[in-house]
């Protein structure tokens, strides 16, 4: 049997997968499951189904509603900064803007890859040390991460765009800046806007977790509620997060459809 046949044989692939999984499963600390009790789960579930509605809005500024507004604010500002700051990197990293130079696009892409590889939590930890705990650290964390994420997506769109109008601009005697504004930007703007809106929604999700490390928003309150086993409170918070993301999904979906 030739080597290639062995590697692509269905049964071999299955056996390899099963072996891999067993290898993984062997080492895992399954002990935590031993402490699990169905009774406590039932109790938790019952509490989860009775949200603490009074915690939703009580005018204290610490309630779910205000914190959710703060969380959305963090996501918006972070995505805003991320979009604006990613643009110079996109100009550096797009191959079709650097005809005779392959080094600069590679450096640009590398920088963007570095920025998006770190989880937002790591950035949040760093920024808390810089600007102190609070929502602004969350803004910066999301912002820097989005530079990487949006930067990579924007670059991919730029590199796969239709070059025919660009050629038309060159044929007319337009210079680089004019070509950018008359041929490239009109094509890319709708797609960029759509991607930005999508990542704003993802940002809201991230922003709600960053509170974990103290970067503001609803995350901190949620963690305290979980640690205090106040499941009614946990329930209202989770409910609020789910509904907010759902509504934002509808809103951004609607706007994105209008952009087509």
């Amino acid at each position: 049997m030739k080597t290639k046949n062995i590697l692509t044989n269905k049964w071999v692939v299955c056996i390899v997968i099963i072996a891999l999984l067993c290898f993984c499963a062997y080492d895992i600390d399954w002990s935590s499951l031993a402490y699990f009790s169905w009774g406590s789960l039932k109790g938790t579930l019952i509490s989860l189904l009775q949200p603490e509605w009074s915690f939703f809005y009580n005018g204290s500024g610490e309630d779910v509603f205000s914190l959710m507004v703060m969380t959305i604010g963090i996501a918006f500002l972070g995505t805003f900064i991320g979009t604006i700051l990613s643009l110079p990197f996109v100009l550096l990293a797009s191959r079709n803007l650097w005809k005779h130079n392959t080094i600069i696009p590679r450096i640009g892409k590398f920088i963007l890859d570095v920025l998006r590889s770190f989880p937002e939590l790591v950035y949040a930890i760093i920024f808390i040390k810089v600007v102190g705990p609070g929502p602004f650290a969350g803004v910066l964390a999301i912002g820097i991460h989005q530079i990487g994420m949006l930067g990579k997506l924007f670059t991919e769109e730029m590199e796969s765009m239709d070059e025919a109008p660009v050629e038309a601009c060159h044929a007319v005697g337009a210079n680089g800046i004019q070509t950018m504004f008359f041929a490239r930007i009109p094509q890319l703007l709708p797609i960029y806007a759509s991607l930005t809106l999508n990542h704003f929604e993802i940002g809201v999700r991230s922003a709600s977790t960053l509170g974990l490390v103290g970067a503001g928003g609803i995350g901190a309150t949620l963690i305290f509620a979980i640690q205090g086993r106040r499941w009614n409170r946990v329930s209202i918070i989770l409910l609020c997060i789910i509904v907010t993301v759902f509504l934002l999904d509808l809103l951004t979906g609607y706007i994105r459809k209008k952009l087509r």
């Binding site: 993984c24 895992i28 600390d29 604010g73 500002l77 939590l121 760093i126 810089v130 609070g134 974990l212």
Partner: protein, 259 residues
């Protein structure tokens, strides 16, 4: 010559958009206590902190190998279990397989709800309910993957060629048979591709799941931060970065060959 005869004939649309964005911007800045001066004012603190981070403790690497490996195994198992559950639900979530709009919409709503819960928060809740350890991490990843991949799969089912399905239906195959013999072969490659895509995302996510106690290298990170051992923090961050790079590269290579 009026404005409406020029290229700016829809100036009010642009103005409206700028206005809305401006309002949201100011609102966000107010709500988050944003201040540019703080960023630049504390620049020296940032430099001091970065300086502390710039001496990674390379001797700590051997201690990191085990949690790293656990993180990878956690992701692998979680992704696999999540995908296993995702496939049948994905079939239920599209009218192409179920021919039933009610069932499809209920399943889709269910999937949407699961997808909106952020990863880390799910982990925190599960840790409080089940307990700390990698098993919780695996369950978190499984649920997260389930939500994400189910959507990807049903979206790809919606784009397949319907002719083989019609052919199967005309010879009397029932829905299950059609699903297995006509739909599945067409999406098989995409599903494998989604596995690696999900794995890539999960490795990234699982590195921090440990922060709430769900196992893996996040636990070490949280511990080192608590002890203010920034030299260890930086070597952990560095290793997370390298692992993510490697997994990304491998995953991309495999997905390119599957496409």
């Amino acid at each position: 010559m009026k404005i409406k005869d020029t290229v700016h004939f829809q100036w009010y649309k642009s103005l409206f958009v700028v206005f809305i964005i401006g309002v949201c911007f100011l609102g966000s800045a107010y709500v988050t206590d944003a201040s540019l001066s703080e960023v630049f004012g504390n620049l020296d603190q940032m430099i001091a902190f970065l300086e502390k981070l710039s001496h990674p403790d390379f001797s700590y690497i051997p201690t990191l190998l085990s949690p790293m490996l656990k993180t990878l195994k956690m992701s692998m198992l979680g992704t696999f279990i999540g995908m296993l559950l995702a496939v049948p639900f994905a079939f239920l979530a599209t009218t192409i397989a179920t021919q039933n709009a009610i069932v499809t919409n209920i399943i889709r709503l269910f999937l949407n709800i699961i997808r909106t819960i952020p990863n880390l928060l799910l982990a925190a809740v599960l840790v409080a309910v089940i307990g700390i350890g990698e098993a919780t991490g695996i369950i978190t990843i499984a649920i997260f993957t389930f939500g994400m991949v189910a959507q990807l799969i049903y979206e790809s089912i919606e784009t397949i060629d319907l002719a083989p399905l019609e052919a199967a239906e005309s010879v009397g195959a029932n829905k299950l048979q059609i699903a297995v013999w006509s739909i599945w072969p067409q999406i098989m490659n995409s599903v494998a591709s989604y596995f690696f895509y999900a794995f890539e995302i999960n490795v990234r996510a699982s590195t921090v799941l440990g922060y709430v106690g769900a196992g893996g290298i996040g636990v070490t990170l949280s511990a080192s931060l608590g002890l203010f051992r920034y030299d260890r923090v930086s070597i952990i961050i560095l290793s997370i970065f390298i692992i993510v790079l490697i997994v990304d590269a491998l995953s991309e290579a495999i997905r390119r060959r599957l496409a």
